[in-house]
Amino acid sequence: MQSPRVERVTEAVANAGSARPKIEILQVSKQFPAEDPARGLAVSNVSLTVGQNEFVSLLGRSGCGKTTLLNMIAGLVAPTQGQIAIDGKPVRGPGPDRGMVFQSSALFPWLTAIDNIEFGLVNRGVPKVERRRHAQDLISLVQLSGFESKYPRELSGGMQQRVAIARALALDPEILLMDEPFGALDELTRAEMQDELLAIWQKRTKTVVFVTHSISEAIFLSDRVIVMSPHPGRIREQIVIDVPRPRQRASVQFAQFYETIQRAIE
């Protein structure tokens, strides 16, 4: 039995292996204005390449810069140093090639669940009938049938998060950036949503960058787990999960990966 492959990546680039690079992050740092500059350094000299159709998870303690890194890939936050490129083109702002599920669901409170999902489709000028049908498919995908016309404040936290996932999926982006999307879900729904996400990822060939606090979620989903450390936010290690899918959550191999990653975080 092979032991998990762990690579130490301090200054070197965390590489995507053989696949064509989709996202290239080159020596990127983000310094937020702060009285103590060391405290404001959310991301420090991070290099990471994500391959076409790769599923990469970011894992690490609270405050290690996962959200900040995701925001920079999204083009919502500009790096203070370094470069980020998508398909070889530098990121200058948000674009239709990227979709994001935020840590807080960030739904529009004045729109019902289904109207939230259709928000981007309206912007793209998709005709109403087609829009509705597409949104309805997504509603059943995230198991919210019957809640279409509820406002966000009438939904539970987990339901809101699922609406946010459907909203990001509606535009069918090549790159999905997901910030703890399943954090508010119960374990059963969470497992179901993980399966759904993998199905979408495999069917529609997407590149996914997935932030999570759950080690087992990262092992179950990812091709590669990037472990980050805080103060300043850095990539500490990367673990390649070279196990064919569907993966067994209770296998010995799974437990080995779990232990390796846990040690990497500490």
Binding site: A74, L76, G93, P94, P96, R98, G99, M100, F102, S104, A106, L107, F108, P109, W110, L111, F119, G120, V122, N123, R124, Y151, P152, R153, R167, A168, L171
Partner: protein, 298 residues
């Protein structure tokens, strides 16, 4: 005890029976509200109790006046106010100017000034609120203009616009405008940045950002500005009508005072209060209709 809390089963096991399966046992009050008896008593408490207290006060007032506890010419009893309202509507005061004429004229002036304030204040407030530089520049002006009591501008308004309708509409516009503007600016400023980011990730053009994110998000603020401004408009109108006109509720009250007709003063007050009540009800109805998602937030 366990019956009211709905936790344990009562001695006869009935406490549990009222809770529908799957509803959970920790929300007995919600279950209870569905029972018709409870609903009736809640309805009574919501509309009946206020009516009751008003009726009690009126009864005491009437009784005290009939017993001669106070001078009916300075504090006319409700029955007298009521007959005066009738007299005012049929005979008019001054002769020929019925209550409805006064009310219509007051309403027209408030509506004109209010509409003008809304047409100016809402777009301007949205623009200012979205520009940091503009809101910094405008802040001292707004603070100053707001703290100028509108009625203290009366002499100036007369000087600029004469004693006709223009000066009255101007003063109402002035009073409504600044309150409204402040609220609209607040609304435009307080858009949750997370929503802007979410929209940016959903292919939102700058134009769509304004109409589909910033404006709806500011709507509750705009509404509360509209409500405050309307209240202020009715406060200002009474003072504004003190000069240069004999028609309008403010004019009615001031003329009634010079003739020492306190019953007429009270009748005018009742009419103004009626306006306020009706308009407040109308606005909250409109708000519920237009902002169903913001319900229960106030």
């Amino acid at each position: 005890m366990s019956d009211t809390l709905g936790t344990g089963s009562g001695p006869d096991g009935k406490a549990k029976a009222t809770v529908a399966p799957g509803q959970g046992e920790c929300r007995p009050s919600i279950e209870a509200e569905r029972q018709p008896g409870w609903a009736v008593s809640r309805h009574l408490r919501q509309t009946g109790l206020p009516l009751l207290s008003v009726a009690v006060i009126l009864a005491f007032w009437e009784g005290a006046a009939q017993l001669g506890l106070f001078d009916a010419s300075t504090i006319p009893p409700p029955s007298r106010v009521l007959s005066t309202v009738w007299e005012l509507q049929t005979l008019g005061f001054p002769r020929g100017s019925s209550l409805l004429t006064h009310m219509g004229s007051t309403l027209g002036r408030v509506a004109a000034g209010y509409a003008l304030a809304a047409v100016l204040g809402i777009p301007l407030g949205m623009l200012i609120g979205r520009s940091l530089r503009a809101s910094r520049m405008v802040l001292p002006i707004v603070t100053f203009a707001r703290s100028v009591a509108t009625l203290s501008l009366l002499p100036l308004a007369v000087l600029w616009f004469g004693v006709g309708e223009e000066s009255k509409v101007f003063l109402i516009t002035y009073g409504c405008f600044w309150v409204l503007l402040t609220n609209v600016i607040d609304g435009a400023k307080n858009v949750d940045p997370a929503l802007i980011r979410a929209a940016l990730m959903l292919d939102t053009s700058p134009r769509a950002m304004f109409y589909r994110v910033i404006l709806p998000s500011a709507l509750p603020y705009i509404f509360s500005g509209l409500r405050l401004a309307l209240g202020l408009g009715f406060m200002v109108i009474v003072g504004v009508e003190l000069i240069g006109t004999s028609i309008g509720l403010g004019a009615l009250i001031s003329q009634a005072r010079t003739f020492y007709r306190m019953d007429l003063v009270f009748a005018g007050m009742v009419a103004i209060a009626l306006f306020g009540l009706l308009i407040a009800l109308g606005l909250s109805w409109l708000e519920r209709l237009l902002l169903p998602w913001a319900r229960e937030s106030k």
